[in-house]
């Protein structure tokens, strides 16, 4: 399983694709927002938490179809299904790989973009904490969505339609934690609920993803 993770990471770093792209998307997204809503710092200050979370979510979404698509096309997935590693483990490792290549860079880049959007100072620790706690859920849910749509040609749009409603609770609690932090309040409650969603997703969704993969490989 670790070998699989190492392979995924190597591929992501070497292929020149995947790795930097979602980060660049996040940057561009945050840059475009002031053009859309105007440069008033007051406005930016109020919407910054939501924008940062939305940007992270969309950046995650865009890289989802890479999770299984390439392995599906070249037949690696069939080999993995017959390998001694359980398919649930494969799904979990894929989610982890996706998080390391997408979620983690987003968490680290978010404070810099927070500066651009004039995010209030007390919100930064909450921003980091909520993204760190929430992005694994995004990866796990996204892996499930990618497993559902792996056999479908041009499934990208369908994938978004399926995954975005599932992202709602994560987004609500994540953005809420940052908003409360920005207002100088204590944001422990939404953060704990967010962590609950993440843990629940990590525990259950690999099984659902593996079930979907088995159907698609049948």
């Amino acid at each position: 399983m670790l070998g699989l993770l190492r392979r995924d990471l190597t591929l992501a770093f070497r292929a020149g694709g995947g790795f930097g792209l979602s980060l660049a998307f996040f940057l561009i997204f945050a840059t475009l927002v002031p053009f859309g809503v105007g440069p008033e710092t007051m406005v930016l200050e109020t919407i910054a938490p939501g924008i940062l979370w939305l940007g992270a979510l969309l950046a995650c979404l865009l890289s989802l179809d890479r999770i299984f698509q390439l392995d599906w096309e070249d037949g690696t997935l069939d080999l993995l299904a017959t390998a001694p590693v359980p398919l649930e483990g494969v799904a979990a490792m894929k989610a982890l790989g996706h998080w390391i290549t997408t979620g983690l860079p987003l968490v680290l880049a978010a404070p810099v973009l927070g500066l651009l959007l004039n995010l209030p100072l007390p919100a930064y620790p909450w921003l980091l904490a909520s993204l760190a706690a929430g992005t694994p859920a995004l990866s796990a849910i996204g892996t499930f969505g990618a497993a559902l749509t792996v056999g479908i040609k041009r499934g990208g749009l369908l994938l978004s339609l399926l995954v975005l409603p599932l992202y709602v609770p994560t987004l609500i609690f994540g953005a809420l934690a940052v908003i409360r932090g920005a207002e100088g309040q204590d944001a422990t409650t939404p953060l704990i609920l967010l962590a609950g969603i993440t843990l629940g997703s990590l525990a259950t969704l690999p099984f659902a993803a593996a079930a979907a993969l088995r159907v698609n490989l049948r």
Partner: protein, 243 residues
């Protein structure tokens, strides 16, 4: 009493549902027309809400049935996953568009009702928002059915999606309550007044609810029959190609 699973046999299902359908359509029509006419023409106006209270006879039943339709899909999906009865999977497929239309009715009438009462078409109230999310779930579910070619694989994938979607829809419902309370207190927009609603409003409401319920049943039975025929058609065409 024969086993319930007997009706999972497509042929048996076709005979029974065929015999049952005219009755169900009839009851649905009587209850629906009866409830709506009763509610529209023969109920007094509310002293605060004026005549807009009449919207309740389409709004509440459609909202209740929209949620129930999803639960029906959840149960039939589970039956499909556990016992592999094709009729069950097809019933879930047949129910989705009906549930989606009910959700849409609930949203539309809610918006129209909200305009004069709250002064806005749309309020990010937890209840309204969760219906919007339910609508998105219906869309995704139906899109997945359409996208997968192999019918059994489509049934499996949508069933798994339905299970996961249910869990997340419930979480969203509670997350939204939390979210809204965090943003604005007060402004209770819910229909909790229903609890002490007077009998004059209650009986037509119940009749309309029965009407929507039977209409749902009729539509699901009818559409499931169509799906079974469509499946048979597909099988026959495939056989001809092979021959």
């Amino acid at each position: 009493m024969a086993s319930l699973w007997e009706y999972a046999n497509p042929r048996k299902f076709m005979t029974v549902s065929g015999a049952l359908l005219p009755w169900v359509w009839g009851i649905a029509a009587v209850c629906l027309v009866g409830g709506l006419v009763w509610g529209f023409f023969f109920t007094p106006n509310d002293f605060r809400q004026g005549s807009t209270v009449k919207i309740i006879y389409v709004h509440v039943p459609s909202a209740i049935m929209a949620v129930n339709a999803w639960f029906m899909m959840l149960i039939t999906s589970l039956i499909w996953l556990i016992r592999r009865h094709h009729v069950s999977a097809l019933a879930a497929k047949a129910a989705a568009p009906v549930g989606m239309v009910f959700t849409l009715i609930a949203l539309l009438t809610g918006a129209i009702w909200g305009q004069p009462m709250w002064g806005t078409w749309w309020e990010w109230d937890p209840r309204l928002t969760s219906f919007l999310i339910l609508f998105l779930f219906y869309l995704g579910y139906m899109a997945l059915w359409e996208a997968v070619d192999n019918p059994d694989a489509a049934a499996d994938l949508t069933a798994v999606l339905c299970l996961v979607g249910t869990v997340f829809a419930v979480i969203s419902r509670y997350a939204l309550v939390f979210w809204n309370q965090g943003l604005h207190q007060g402004a209770t927009l819910s229909l909790d007044a229903e609890q002490n609603i007077a009998d004059v409003f209650w009986y037509p409401l119940i009749t309309a609810l029965a009407g929507f319920g039977f209409l749902f049943l009729a539509l699901v039975l009818y559409r499931t029959r169509t799906e079974i025929r469509a499946r048979r058609l597909k099988a026959l065409i495939a056989q001809e190609r092979m021959a």
